[in-house]
């Protein structure tokens, strides 16, 4: 139940129970104004065609897709929340848990595999004390895998956010972590 800016707050407290209101208003506005630019109509089937791009935008804005955000998208497109969640859980690009500041993704493509990506994965796991797909408690590092980035000549490859590290060896792992700090 969103309140328009012209209305005055009478301390009713209902906003406190409205998950969407709890969202960062700037981010929420950014997502909403993006959805305003789409040619959405009454036809749910056609609206659904915009779902994946909305989720991409939402994840870009919020960093992950919590239930409140899923609801916001579902409402706007006229879809059920279950359907939106079904799509999110299907695609590996979408995540429903907050991600760390540094997203360490180790390429698990074939070229990196034959050049020893497995030992790099093991070393990162050991150093950060998290498993693949997890985030450190201080929310600093998320560890994940990534399918081929196409930099096969530099295999094995590790990506930290947008930066590519090539020819990584287990020995270079602490250096990479140190560089982020």
């Amino acid at each position: 139940m969103a309140m328009s800016e012209t209305e005055c707050c009478n301390s009713c407290g209902s906003c406190n129970n409205d998950p969407i209101m709890k969202m960062n208003p700037d981010k929420k506005r950014e997502l909403e104004s993006y959805m305003d630019t789409l040619s959405l109509g009454g036809d749910t089937d056609k609206n659904r065609g915009f779902l994946i791009q909305c989720l991409h935008k939402a994840q870009g804005v919020f960093g992950y897709l919590p239930e409140d955000v899923q609801l916001l998208v579902a409402d706007r497109l006229g879809l059920h929340l279950s359907e939106v969640f079904g799509v999110i859980s299907f695609y590996s690009y979408f995540t429903t848990v907050p991600q760390g500041r540094y997203k360490i993704n180790i390429c698990t493509g074939t070229a990196c595999f034959v050049k020893g990506a497995e030992s790099i994965v093991g070393e990162f796991k050991r150093f950060l004390n998290v498993d693949m797909g997890e985030t450190t408690e201080d929310m600093k590092f998320s560890l994940g895998g990534l399918r081929c980035v196409g930099a096969c000549s530099l295999a094995p490859v590790v990506m930290v956010n947008d930066k590519v590290y090539g020819n990584v060896t287990p020995k270079k792992v602490p250096e990479i972590i140190e560089e982020c700090k």
Partner: protein
């Protein structure tokens, strides 16, 4: 400015060819694809620009950002073109420091490495025997600025669509494509002309042209290179496809993991609209066509056409039953053709040069070329395009320059997780769709990964199954559960718990999955297992009977021991992550086998060959 007649296009092309100032003597092309940038092309580009500016070269040198040249082994790479003579020279491993030497043309003195070109352009050049590669799909990649539509038009861009809309009927276009023998380059090899024919025959108010740019095969990056290096060629082909089947809207489904390709496609679509090649009444012919981009979100199975269509519709990307085929009922239940990026990239050349020209390249059953990304344990990793029918030996030992570090060739894996491995015994087979299937592999989208004697084939099969497990959508039981069981058995074998019965079960279950899975992903997922079982049964037996891994890869079957070469330098002990190496300085050390986690750090750090891996 819009270009609304073929004559105007010709005129514009002529103007572009004369656009450069007469002072221009040299063009320097800088490879700015994703892999080039990762290897450090950006500082090189900056250094080049700075040198040209500060060195007072003025208009005599033009620097152009281009897409991938395919020389991944020597990135950052640049090409210098002498405008007066047309001579071209490629230089690899350029650093910002060496960029100055390139501008000043003192490369030899500065020790910049020159790379001989191993390709020719069948559209403009005759083959000389020394060139194994033939570039049709990659004709503009690494030669033009992908962010400039003018560069594309200057190299006969949009001429094919001009001719099609100006002089041909839809049936004529389909006839040329059918006669050319072009087959789907995404892996299946279905005749493109026939696919278009099916869709054209459908009566419907709406039809769709879809481009499959969801390149999920790990170790393959051909489509990315085309989209990053020559996006307009795909747009142009899609317009032609739209005209021939009677469609007015196109969709490009692209991986979200390719941000640079997305950016360049967006730009290309915008530029194309501005010039009037997309939109209403293209070339004054009354034909309308436009293209939109849709993003994938990390699901390998979306490369399958029915799954891709579901994903474009905003659903879970699960494959559907066929028939009905997409050509009858596809996107939004309308007739739809789905073709791969590389397939489209062939179309304009076929229209420009004719079906007979295309048929003269490649083999009888598979005319034309195929782009491969050649990676793995090879000296010259790169993106290559060869005529169909080229021998694997030529690709690996002539283009790839043999195996890294003088190791022995073991196998080459083609077709990614759906393919199989090809051994030395078959290395002289000319490759096309049929010959690869006969060898128990498949063409696939074009990943080609070379393995050497240090790779364990059981472990490789396990790797591909892990991939399939991750990517299986879970809709059908054989794929969801069968592959899980296959993976468990391989896991047992690689950890030393394998039995003979397991090997029999592996075969039987693989055959069952092949016969019963719903879509292409499941039907081909056991291929890596079957093909390694067939070609490397001895390795499986060594794991099962001897509890050893001949390639010394499977950690559980390994034992690290220190031999008499040890001088007691303590390096291994200091690097061991679990501190299981003990010994006094200048005395032979020992490894506590109970504590050892077999990480191999000691083996890598030892400078005296004192660690044995058995």
């Amino acid at each position: 400015m819009t270009i609304n007649t073929p004559d105007k296009l010709n005129q514009y092309e002529k103007e572009l060819r004369n656009r450069n100032s007469s002072a221009l003597k040299t063009e320097i092309l800088v490879s700015m694809g994703t892999c080039g940038i990762a290897a450090g092309t950006t500082p090189v580009l900056d250094a080049l620009k700075k040198e040209v500016e500060e060195g007072g070269y003025g208009d005599s040198i033009r620097i152009v950002q281009v897409g991938c040249m395919g020389l991944c082994h020597s990135e950052p790479s640049i090409e210098v073109v002498d405008k007066a003579t047309g001579e071209r020279a490629i230089f690899g491993n350029v650093t910002p420091d060496k960029a100055k030497a390139v501008v000043a043309k003192t490369v030899r003195a500065a020790g910049v490495q020159a790379i001989p070109r191993s390709w020719y352009y069948p559209e403009d050049e005759e083959n000389t025997d020394k060139c194994i590669q033939a570039r049709i799909v990659l004709r503009n990649c690494g030669r033009i600025d992908p962010e400039s539509i003018d560069d594309y038009i200057e190299r006969s861009g949009y001429k094919a669509v001009g001719r099609v809309l100006g002089t041909m009927k839809p049936q004529d276009v389909i006839k040329i494509i059918t006669e050319s023998g072009l087959r789907g380059r995404g892996g299946g090899g279905f005749p493109t002309g026939r696919k278009w024919q099916f869709a054209a025959a459908q009566k419907s108010d709406e039809k769709y042209v879809v481009c499959n740019a969801d390149e999920g095969d790990p170790g393959a990056f051909m489509d990315r290179a085309v989209l990053e290096g020559d996006p307009h060629s795909v747009l142009e082909a899609m317009i032609i496809a739209g005209f021939s089947i009677g469609s007015h809207s196109g969709v490009i489904y692209i991986r979200a993991e390719y941000p640079l390709a997305v950016k360049r496609l967006h730009l290309a679509i915008e530029q194309s609209r501005e010039k009037g090649f997309l939109g209403k009444n293209i070339f004054g012919s009354g034909f309308d066509f436009d293209i939109e981009l849709k993003y994938g979100a990390g699901a390998f199975v979306c490369g399958e056409e029915t799954a891709l269509i579901h994903s474009v519709e905003g659903k879970r990307g699960e494959p559907g039953f066929k028939p009905p085929f997409p050509a009858v009922s596809g996107l939004w239940k309308k007739p739809t053709i789905v073709n791969n990026v590389e397939t489209y990239a062939n179309v304009c050349a076929i229209i420009r040069k004719g079906a007979a020209w295309f048929r003269a390249i490649g083999t009888e059953s598979a005319p034309g070329t195929k782009v491969f990304s050649l990676t793995g344990k090879i000296n010259k990793v790169g993106l290559i395009e060869v005529p169909m029918g080229t021998k694997l030996h030529d690709i690996i030992f002539r283009l790839g320059d043999g195996i890294k570090d003088g190791r022995k060739f073991k196998a080459v894996q083609t077709g990614g997780p759906s393919g199989g491995c090809i051994t030395e015994a078959s290395i002289n087979t000319p490759i096309d769709y049929a010959s690869l299937i006969a060898l128990g592999s498949m063409m696939g989208s074009g990943g080609m990964i070379v393995l050497d004697e240090d790779d364990c084939m059981v472990n490789v099969a396990k790797f591909f199954l892990e991939f399939t497990l991750d990517e299986s959508c879970g809709r059908c039981t054989p794929c969801r559960i069968g592959n899980k069981r296959l993976h468990e058995m391989l896991n047992e074998i690689t950890t030393g718990n394998g039995t003979h019965e397991m090997l029999l079960k592996l075969r039987k279950l693989s055959d069952t999955i092949k016969d019963t899975a719903l879509c292409g992903l499941g039907q081909t997922s056991p291929n890596p297992v079957l093909s390694t079982l067939k070609n490397f049964e001895d390795e499986y037996l060594a794991h099962v009977d001897g509890k050893r891994c001949p390639a010394k890869v499977c950690a559980n079957l390994l034992k690290y021991e220190i031999n008499d070469n040890c001088v007691g330098c303590t390096l291994c002990a200091r690097n061991c992550p679990v501190l299981c190496i003990s010994g006094e300085k200048k005395h032979k050390h020992a490894i506590d086998q109970a504590k050892c986690i077999k990480c191999g750090v000691c083996f890598e750090t030892c400078r005296f060959h004192a660690i044995d891996k058995n």
